[in-house]
Symmetry: C2
């Protein structure tokens, strides 16, 4: 990038807010997605909405890309810069501007940490349900950009169900306010929901107005163990068929249970086929009744053991089994590829079985866990990106996994987005009319393709065509330059 | 319209499915919106998705507009044809294709009547919450096109919260499937939610996949009477502040109560300032507790009377007061203009007071009722469209009402859409960047502007510019031609 352009960026945000050292470039060359990295031209820290507007106008003038970034916990490479882009670092926008206890809303800046918002609103007896796996690090802005899900999706929905309003900067620099504290608003097209989940390609969020709900009065957490995934899956179906909607209904397969026990020493039995983490919440009488029914259903499906938490601490311990699944799996081998193939709930047992079959076929290790209640699975390949031959098998396996999910009416991504990692699969899910619909929206709003170029799909004239992102390995080379 | 084009339409759908008699044209010249009407060139009844695709391709070729229509219950003129358009009549697409009790979904054709779907799913112990005022006549397709709300919006949300998937025909004739039975799906842009609430301007729906939930186990209905709107409003705030989320929380002002009593003879006291219809639902213990708390809150706020339903029949009777509000008001004068200005819940008392002040200022009758729980009001002017001078005052009054709603952070439309009736107000709610965002989406998807032209906003080159729709009065003249 031309020194002149860097200078103009410095004029907009102040010199101290444009980082160009190689250390900084390396730090922001990747996100939580394995095997993808590329150096940005600079890291720019905007101070105001107006700053962002000017940066985007400059990007259109000077022909460079802008990659918005929160905490970089994304798992599809959405915050990985491509060549000729700058990182727009939003994680210092950390203010909770207002919690309105009358209208049950929270107005926040995009850099607020998800778990911090949970704490703040719960202190007022309110509740913000979306709880993505990375919630202790992830930002609300990132959650909105990816339409993040989480463990409570089955009962409470995902991020988009809680966004009431947005202040955004559009790719060409215009500032726009959408929505507000109204529960109902049908004035014009639903611009808000076009931007939610657009993975940083259509707008930069500068303020986010969230819907809150009253905090559930009580909850009960249970852990049930089963001989096989099949009986665990049958249990899930029976719970739903009994018209119980648990707040959380998660599963871990045997591979994952073993890794978790090895990592966290929770006293889990390692010889079981699967475990279910179940949490019901609401009115105490309802919780009692539902918990009793669930116990009955678990027993009927031959649960080998059932632990019910009798206190908040015990509940936290039971949840640790699930919350530490990713970290536990990630310890086993150098590279952890966590995916989010999702199927209609009734197909969960079939899908889980198929994933194991595919893992065996390609002789790779895939741990499986996820949101059984909403069909959102997290098949996780444990591998080593330096082993090119194994990596190839991993890729083939995931291709088959996605194909099978689509065959069952599923989706290639339930939570993580398409980003760079799943671009080539999107065309399996949508026909040409669908992809072209998306391209039309992108081209109409971002004619020069400056916002997060190269993500989700290729435009006909992609900004960065030909130059693929570097591998993590290639990036390592730059470390020699690191003091 | 050229006889040649009519002939080509007949070739697509069969001669019996193209109606061109003056009787038919008059029948389809208006919807439920007062004072707006215009004759279509023809009424076309498609038999298949492929038919619709071909009709839209022909429209692009031959340069005419296509206005999708369900039951025509819309209140913003969305189904009123403009000159050089045909009506695409979808109300014969009435099949409930599947109710999936495992994944809790219903797949329906767009012409299914909302209340009929309610009955069918409730028979299976399931629940489809959206319940717009016109639900006994309105179609699901129309509900999706308008993102219809209803009485249960506060607790259960609106139509868009229950649409999981769509089969649509795009304006240029391509057929597209979006979404599916997955609770979570973030593959690519959220095309589904762009189309929901797009008022027939971006797509024709041919199949709709809806999310269902378990039917609430029990419910309790109450009617509380207050001296003034202010104390009723305070009661609403107190209920929410006590972290109770009623399924229904509706109000009627004195004008409306009098009309309802006069119409339905329910034994309502006509000397009260306002009534609240409150329904809580869920687990019986929760319902008991919440009902008790609400009674307490009503008493504390000096409710003059409180009726609690002791049976399903009694509950239906209490609900009749609210459900018949529109019909009761409509009897008073020849023209009833029902609007849907919406404000954040905490501003409901202020807004209601202002509406009365405005009504007095312009010396018109405005009955007021609506969804107090979600801030969605229905100020309803009782007037006579033949009285031009009064109609002018009505218009001025509504302009002030919308201005005040926007000042409070509200919206010009909570449920009814923009259509033709509120086009000129949309620019008060969105800045130029917002309107241009909408236009860009429209132009990108519908370059020739064939789908429901002239609705929501003007394109730079609107198809029908210059020719305003006829008044209902002008349409009456055509009746002489009617045999």
């Amino acid at each position: 990038m031309d020194a002149r352009v860097i200078k103009r960026l410095e004029e907009i945000v102040g010199r101290e807010n444009v980082l160009t050292s190689i250390e900084n470039k390396i730090t922001y060359s990747y996100d939580a997605t394995p095997s993808l990295a590329s150096l940005p031209e600079a890291i720019v820290i905007p101070r105001t909405t107006e700053d962002i507007s000017q940066i985007l106008k400059l990007a259109n003038e000077e022909n460079f890309g802008v990659v918005p970034r929160g905490s970089g916990t994304g798992l599809s490479g959405g915050a990985v810069p491509l060549p000729n882009t700058i990182i727009l670092l939003m994680n210092r926008w950390r203010k909770i501007i207002e919690i309105d206890t009358e209208n049950l809303t929270a107005l926040v800046e995009p850099g607020v940490i998800t778990a911090q918002l949970h704490q703040e609103v719960e202190r007022k007896g309110l509740f913000y349900p979306p709880d993505p796996g990375s919630m202790t690090i992830s930002t609300i802005g990132g959650n909105v950009a990816e339409n993040a899900g989480g463990l409570r999706g089955l009962k409470y929905g995902v991020t988009k169900n809680y966004v009431l309003g947005l202040e955004v900067v559009l790719p060409t620099g215009e500032i726009l306010n959408i929505g507000g504290k109204n529960v109902k608003d049908v004035a014009g097209y639903n611009l808000k929901d076009v931007l939610i989940g657009s993975e940083g390609t259509l707008a930069v969020f500068t303020k986010i107005l969230l819907k809150l709900i009253p905090k559930p009065q009580s909850s009960r957490t249970m852990l049930a163990f089963f001989d096989s995934i099949k009986t665990a899956g049958k249990t899930v179906s029976d719970i739903i068929a009994n018209h119980i909607t648990p707040a959380t209904l998660e599963f871990l397969d045997n591979v994952t249970i073993k890794c978790v026990e090895d990592y966290a020493h929770l006293g889990l039995p390692t010889n079981v086929g699967a475990l279910l983490l179940i949490e019901v919440d609401g009115h105490p009488a309802q919780v009692d009744e539902e918990a009793r029914k669930i116990e009955e259903i678990c027993r009927k499906n031959n649960a080998t053991d059932l632990k019910v938490a009798n206190s908040e601490t015990e509940a936290m311990n039971l949840k640790t089994a699930r919350r530490s699944a990713f970290a536990a799996l990630a310890r086993v081998k150098p590279t952890t590829i966590l995916e989010d193939a999702t199927v209609p709930r009734s197909f969960v047992p079939e899908m889980v079985e198929k994933i194991q079959e595919i893992a065996n076929k390609y002789q790779i290790i895939i741990g499986n866990f996820g949101h059984a209640g909403d069909g959102n699975l997290h098949p996780t390949a444990l591998t080593d990106e330096r082993d090119k031959e194994e990596m190839k098998r991993v890729e083939q396996a995931f291709e088959e996994i996605f194909d099978f999910a689509l065959k069952l009416g599923g989706t290639i991504t339930g939570e993580h987005g398409v980003g760079l990692a799943k671009r080539r699969f999107l065309e399996k899910q949508y026909n040409e009319a669908g992809i072209e619909f998306m391209r039309k929206i992108k081209r109409a709003l971002d004619p020069n393709g400056v916002l997060n170029p190269g993500k989700i799909f290729d435009l006909i004239n992609p900004r960065c065509e030909g130059r693929l992102p570097l591998s993590r390995e290639e990036i390592e080379k730059y470390k020699d330059l690191w003091v």
